[in-house]
Amino acid sequence: MSTNERIIEARELTKTFSGGVVALDRFTLAVRRGEVVVIIGPSGSGKSTFLRCLNGLEEIDSGSIVIDGIPLDRHRKNRLLIRREVGMVFQSFNLFPHMTARENIDLAQIRVRKKTRTGAAETTMNLLAKVGITEKADRYPHELSGGQQQRVAIARALAMSPKVMLFDEATSALDPEMIGEVLDVMRTLAAEGMTMVIVTHEMGFAREAGDRIVFMESGRIVEEGDAERFFAFPREERTRAFLGQIL
């Protein structure tokens, strides 16, 4: 793998929270451009912490993160650049409740990408069409179903034209009948070649949409591998136990 191919390079990440919880323990992972990596693992294993470190929401204690050639270091400018290139979708949607769907998606385009209102409006409508809720453009978040809110949240992240998308349990807060519509949008993104790092409990989706599966526990990688192989022939005893529990 040439370094250019590796759009995310995380080396030896360590993160200890106050209270002594080791959330990441010399965690190393590289992601190729266009790859879809699915991270699975028991609760508290450090999955969210890893995603949050990738866009600077959480500070690492040691190790290094390089995203598309930019090191996530102390330099403010680099940190800001990385935040712009990495989109994130949260379990709890986190839409801005005082803005309509359209305004949620417009905001960063205008403020960060410095687009004009009309320029942003076009992108926004395209994105709303892509996630299939054009007719809800002028609705406020509280007027939308959970699935619709999460789709707006995905469109909002995509509006920055990020190079990488992170999904932290994007469907965990949804009623079962709405999970499908969000997974469909994620599938489309994967098919279009978006680089994605996905934390999920949807094993069916992981198997079918993921290129690579990473199973982690206690801040470390227990096993990783090609999606088909991983589910068909898990190598580690611990992996088998985990899969046995949730499948």
Partner: protein, 289 residues
């Protein structure tokens, strides 16, 4: 909040009649028992004077206007200053947090009356002179002077007015600081994180995402504090600023019409605070989309 339409039922009519009756009885008793002679017409001439045929504001009305000016400026400046201090309270910089924190603690632990004197004797007497404010005003053109009179106070009273204003701003802003801080901290962490993940700078996160939501939440508390500002403006009467309370005190020592004077003053303060409350309530309903 659900909107309930106010309906007038027979019981309301009965209650109003009872209250009126009790009021009338009280007034009559005061007249009879205490041998008190109500002299409302006297008060009237302190509200409106007839100056050789033309109408002019009496001393009470002038005091009322001064209270309004003082409250308006204090509200405006305290909201501004309090917002900045509130932002400093939640700043990432320890230095900012320390400054704003000390300010709040200091002001909230001082009796406002002491604060008036401190500000009056330091700012009113010394600083104004040092910075040549008084000289500047004295040598200003008549147009400037009349403009200053209209928006603040007559030139001779300006430094006192500013000292009173500064006290009120300093005092009320400390409470507004805490209201703003609580409002900002009440916004879910996820909102900051989503804004952060979109690449917004901290200033943009605040301006576009956090403050608009915080403002809606703190509006009731802020309105309460502004009403307090109107009420607290009475303390500056101790440094002889001719606002409503001061004029009331003066009038009472001149006429001894205790009841009439204080009933009038009460009514005037009430008009001010109540009309403000009504305005805020309308704003709140308008925002409750």
């Amino acid at each position: 909040m659900t909107k309930t339409k106010i309906r007038f039922i027979p019981l309301d009519a009965v209650l109003i009649v009872l209250i009126l009756a009790a009021g009338t009885y009280l007034v009559r008793r005061i007249g009879v028992e205490m041998d008190y002679h109500w002299q409302w017409p006297v008060i009237l001439q302190y509200l409106v004077r007839t100056d050789g045929g033309s109408w002019a504001a009496g001393s009470l009305t002038q005091g009322f206007l001064t209270t309004i000016k003082l409250s308006l400026w204090a509200t405006f400046l305290a909201t501004f200053f309090g917002t900045i201090m509130g932002l400093m309270r939640v700043s990432h910089s320890l230095f900012h947090r320390l400054i704003a924190g000390s300010y709040v603690e200091l002001v909230r632990n001082l009796p406002p009356l002491i604060l008036v004197f401190i500000v009056y004797f330091f700012i009113g007497e010394r600083i104004m002179t040092v910075f040549g404010v008084e000289n500047f005003i004295r040598s200003a053109s008549p147009e400037t002077q009349s403009m200053l009179t209209a928006i603040f106070a007559p030139p001779a009273r300006l430094s006192g007015f500013f000292a009173g204003l500064a006290t009120l701003v300093l005092y009320e802003a400390a409470y507004i600081t805490e209201i703003v801080r609580a409002g900002i901290q009440s916004i879910e962490k996820g909102q900051w994180e989503a804004a952060h993940a979109l690449g917004l700078s901290r200033g943009q996160q605040l301006r576009d995402v956090i403050l608009p939501q915080a403002l809606r939440r703190i509006l009731p508390a802020l309105a309460g504090q502004i009403i307090s500002t109107i009420k607290d403006s009475a303390i500056v009467s101790v440094i002889s600023i001719p606002e409503l309370t001061f004029q009331g005190l003066e009038l009472m020592s001149a006429t001894y019409l205790t009841f009439e004077v204080w009933i009038t003053i009460t009514a005037l303060y009430f008009i001010l605070t109540f009309s403000f409350s009504l305005g805020v309530r309308r704003l709140e309903t308008a925002w409750q989309k």
